[in-house]
Amino acid sequence: MLEERGVWVWGDAEGARNFCGNSMAIPPPDPKFVLRGTGASVNTLHFCCSDQEDWNPILFSGSANGQIHIWNLKTHRADKVLESHNKQSVLWIHTLQGRNGLISQGRDAAVSTWDLSEGRTAVIDSIPLDSYGFCQCSLMQEGVGHYLLASPGSTSSEVKILDLPKKTPVWVLKPPADAKLGMPMCLKLWQPPSGSRPLLLVGYENGSLTLWDLSEKKMLSHLACHNEPIMCLDFDPERAKGISGSSEKLLSSWGLDNQQNLKLQNTLTLVNAGIADTCIRQDKKILATAGWDHRIRIFGWKKLKPLAVLQYHIASVHCVTFSDHVVPSERLMAAGSKDQRISLWSVYNKP
């Protein structure tokens, strides 16, 4: 079945090539390589490539059967497989202090921290969460070994900020009761370049976006940018500009003005509905979206110019992320899909 699909993709690419013989358009690239064997749909991905120069770049993947794979990107094989969260689906993973620590969020409503140093695979701590939803947490480093974790709170629309490793709740952000925002769907915790207080972006079930000042527990701005639940968002602090995708066909970019007001900048209508994940590359040149229509799309970040539609997966793409390679030309993009495969791509890497 898979091979047949592969052939079909190839044939299609051939056709496209012939079709565009005279025009400038080049056919989209194929994946650089593909990682198989997760045994369940891939929900989340995280690269770790730049912490030590001589170490192999690795990729963490979390899948729906509770396994966390640590992929060696030299050998293209899984170095280790961690069983976690009582075989419940892994929602989100992130590294702590390079590759020696890991934090994972599962559908068992718990966040686990792992010690991976010197070959260990032990859970250090497990923090119970209040929400059984699908909202991914967001992590921000405050100092060495000191983190803030944003997680969905106990009542609807509420977001809780925890201090790690102390596990103590620092702030609870409650929107006004009459706002009717629904559940939080995605979070993004970030520090403005000016270095002042951390800010939090929350995308809600009703399609609106809010910006919070954490230390004042105050909602700074509110923007209704979608008509359907916001599925994902990413933010570029340099340009003070972000992107959000929802379950509809619309991709919206919005900006923050000097008064910390969210303003809609640009919207783009896609061919098929549903964007599961979006990620802006570290160099702020391109952004990628993971579509429910099995396709990964690449856009120019400045003007949301459509650049590429990558077709490889045969089921919804759940997550997409860019690697943190030090050398720009080595940078990769990874996408995980419901079809249990992780595709790795090299796009727009030429300087």
Binding site: C20, P28, L264, P306
Partner: protein
């Protein structure tokens, strides 16, 4: 007797005798001048007693004598340059009514002659010098004296009918001033003059009567010259009444005094010609309260503002009356609907809320009986009116909202629900423009409110492009080929017909069902053998398929599939469908679908094989699918059929190059037409049928008849056509005076299809008596039916029968 008066007596007597006998020029001139002395006198408020006496007693008589003398030789006695002075002045300076009467009498009593000609000339002069205004004014002044009434009556008739008198008498020699189009505006002008003089009198504190002016106005309006007179009168009054209350009172009294029997014409003229409701109320005042007739005219016939509520209720009563709906022509219903919508727009919210319950109950009943109607136009009319009603009566979310396609008629109706602004009266030609621009702005408003994201995006984009510099763009990134980014198709269409049956029966995946449904018609047509194996099963599945997922074009797709399977495996499928039509537990829609499918399949079979259509397509055969993209309604087909038939019979002298003769193929419908027809017609009155066709369900009855007629029409040239025709005629005889117009239309269509499809000679030999009866019935319908469509198609059929008779004539010879 006073000496002066005696003197006058003598003088006049002598003058008259001189004038009638003398032929001496000097004597006549002298006499005339001396009489004239009397007539002239000093123009003061108190004329001399001689003049008074002369005018009162002798003026009329003297004028008669003068007119009698008007012959060629007598006139020659007068000096040419003094003729006017000596003669005409007598007529133009005396009491105008007497002069008028004498002149008119002379004109009407004489044959064409110099005398008549002279009188006509003087009368012309009389009109040109505004003597008519003088006349009217004088009659008005003397209105109070009782002996004037018969004189008034005479004058009224003569003045108002002057153009008729003149035209009758003078025939070709009539003068332009006596033409109605000139005379009546002049009369209007004169009335304005009179009113102005009366105004002066009132201002001077004198009493005055308008009665004669009103009478004259009424009489003239009654004779159908409303517009001519009022076109002069109304604009002038509009200006004069603007700020002067005396003028307003004059205007009110003018209308008020019009005798009741002429009131309607006058008031309707005012309503039509006054510029807007403000002006009208200024001109008419509170006439509605004072005059019953005016009240009736304004509130019942014209439906003006203050009495709207009562009128609205009455109208609603009619509107919601199902019997009225059935028996009145649609134009009348449209008129009533428009009136309702206009009144609704004019009423204030508080008034509506006060009578909410009555309005609501009227609306409910009306909606019910409109929606019950089988005529689409009536239904839509009902829906549109109900929407307007509920928009006014209900607040918030409880408004009625129907789904229907808006056409020009409904748009016009709905546009009436926006009350016309008072300002729009000043410049009526721009009215239309205003409205449309309002509509547009409304639309754009709605758009922006609907799609805030996009509109904001637009403005943002503009800003973006302005602020973004050349450097800040994605241009250095070259896009890959984006053409593969197409809509995702998750499922593949089935390849085998049995697979599609499987999918349609079991699948719960909306996309899978949609793709299958789209493919099923092609699959059936591509592989008839495989389709025949499961034809009845497939038919059953398709017939019971519900549009659970709101698939676009569902009805059309399903219908396409059903038609294809019916054509492919005709006999078993038609047997199944015709049985199911009368079976229990089917919805109305399914039964109607069955009828549609049968009609469409019959049409397809009656035409040359579809596989050959591609090679030699003849434009005269219209393909099914070219008609409409969505669901196809064959009951509308019959109009086209008749039109096409007429078109075919029309001989055209210029034709393009003759097409190659289409290849002859056997008629596929001919052997199976009976399977379509007889099971349908056989069972309608069986007791086991789930509903009573004849009594209720007139919609399905109408559709059944239409379908039968369509099958009949397509069975032309089939051998069974005569049997089918006989059965159909029998069938429709029972329902020929059905109360529902749609059923009647069906029966008429059936008659014409029988006349068209069954060969004439066979029809005449087989059913001569029925034909005669049908002819009487058709004549009756063509004359008396309330529905215009029925009348037209009855006429159409009568024409067919007429042609028939001609042919028969040829035959018997």
């Amino acid at each position: 007797m006073e000496p002066e008066i005696l003197e006058v007596h003598c003088l006049i007597k002598q003058a008259i005798s001189t004038l009638s006998s003398s032929r001496d020029r000097a004597e006549i001139i002298h006499t005339l001048q001396s009489v004239k002395q009397n007539l002239r006198g000093p123009e003061t408020a108190n004329p001399s007693p001689q003049k008074k006496e002369f005018l009162k007693t002798y003026y009329s008589h003297f004028l008669q004598v003068l007119t009698n003398n008007l012959s060629v030789d007598w006139l020659q006695l007068l000096p040419v340059n003094q003729e006017k002075e000596l003669l005409d002045d007598f007529f133009l300076n005396g009491p105008p009514h007497e002069a008028f009467l004498v002149l008119l009498d002379t004109i009407t009593a004489t044959r064409p002659s110099l005398r008549q000609e002279r009188c006509v000339a003087i009368l012309e002069q009389f009109l040109q010098e505004d003597r008519m205004a003088q006349l009217i004014e004088e009659i008005c002044l003397e209105y109070t004296s009782p002996h004037m009434s018969s004189l008034q009556e005479t004058l009224l008739n003569k003045i108002s009918a002057l153009p008729d008198h003149m035209a009758n008498k003078l025939e070709k020699d009539n003068r332009a001033i006596f033409y109605p189009e000139n005379y009546y505006p002049l009369l209007g002008q004169e009335m304005v003059l009179v009113l102005e003089r009366i105004y002066e009198q009132l201002k001077g504190g004198m009493d005055s009567s308008l009665f004669f002016v009103s009478q004259l106005l009424g009489k003239v309006c009654m004779q159908g010259h409303t517009d001519a007179v009022l076109h002069v009168l109304v604009p002038r009054l509009t200006i004069l009444t603007q700020s002067d209350c005396i003028w307003q009172r004059i205007s009110w009294r003018l209308v008020e005094n019009v005798p009741e029997r002429w009131m309607e014409n006058v008031v309707s003229g005012f309503v039509r010609l006054s510029a807007g409701p403000n002006v009208l109320s200024r001109l008419l005042g509170n006439i509605v309260l004072k005059n019953k007739k005016a009240n009736f005219v304004l509130t019942h016939k014209f439906l003006l503002l203050q009495y709207q509520l009562k009128v609205l209720k009455k109208l609603l009563e009619t509107w919601s009356n199902s019997s009225a709906l059935r028996h009145t022509p649609i134009e009348q219903q449209l008129y009533i609907s428009k009136a309702i919508v206009i009144i609704l727009a004019e009423l204030s919210d508080s008034e509506i809320q006060e009578h909410k319950r009555e309005l609501l109950s009227g609306m409910m009943a009306g909606v019910e009986c409109h929606l019950d109607s089988n005529i689409a136009r009536v239904r839509q009319l009902g829906m549109a009116v109900a929407e307007c009603l509920s928009a006014r009566v209900n607040s918030g979310d409880h408004r009625l909202k129907f789904e229907y396609a808006e056409d020009d008629e409904l748009r016009e109706l709905k546009s009436l629900s926006n009350p016309r602004h008072l300002s729009s009266w000043e410049a009526p030609p721009q009215q239309h423009k205003d409205e449309s621009s309002q509509l547009e702005s409304g639309q754009s408003l709605a758009e922006t409110s609907l799609n805030p994201v996009e509109s904001r995006q637009n403005s943002q984009e503009v800003q973006d492009s302005e602020s973004a510099s050349e450097l800040d763009s994605d241009d250095e990134l070259i896009p890959y080929d984006l053409s593969i980014d197409t809509e995702l198709q998750r499922n593949r269409a089935p390849v085998y017909i049995s697979d599609s049956v499987e999918v349609l029966m079991t699948s719960a995946d909306p996309e899978q069902i949609e793709i299958t449904l789209k493919a099923v018609e092609n699959l059936i047509r591509k592989n008839p053998t495989a389709s025949r194996e499961i034809s009845v099963q497939l038919t059953k599945v398709l017939l019971h398929l519900e549009d659970k997922f709101n698939i676009s074009g569902f009805t059309g797709l399903r219908q396409g599939g059903l038609v294809a399977i019916t054509v492919t495996d005709t006999i078993p499928v038609t047997q199944y469908l015709t049985t199911e039509f009368y079976a229990v537990n089917y919805s109305l829609t399914q039964r109607l679908d069955i009828l549609d499918v049968l009609a469409l399949a019959a049409q397809e079979l009656s035409q040359p094989d579809s596989s050959q259509r591609a090679t030699n397509e003849s434009p005269s055969i219209q393909l099914l699918k070219s008609e409409t993209s969505g669901a196809y309604n064959p009951s509308q087909q019959w109009k086209k059929i008749i039109e096409k038939r007429i078109e075919n019979k029309t001989r055209r002298f210029t034709r393009g190059a003759s097409r190659p003769e289409p290849e002859a193929v056997p008629n596929r419908l001919s052997p199976v037409a009976g399977y379509f027809f007889f099971p349908l017609i056989r069972n309608y009155d069986r007791p086991q049928t789930p509903f009573d066709f004849l009594a209720e369900e007139s919609l399905i009855m109408g559709r059944l008849i239409h379908t039968l007629a369509i099958i009949m029409y397509f069975s032309v040239n089939a051998l069974v056509a005569i049997h089918m025709g006989k059965a159909l005629l029998d069938f429709i005889w029972a329902v020929r005076y059905h109360t529902d117009a749609y059923v009647r239309q069906g029966t008429l269509f059936a008659v014409s299809s029988v006349l068209l499809s069954v060969p004439n000679n066979i029809l005449l030999t087989e059913v001569p008596d029925e034909l005669l009866e049908i002819r009487c019935w058709l004549a009756d319908v063509a004359e008396n039916d309330a529905d215009e469509g029925c009348r037209r198609s009855a006429l159409q059929s009568l024409l067919l029968m007429e042609n028939f008779k001609k042919k028969l004539g040829v035959f018997t010879e």
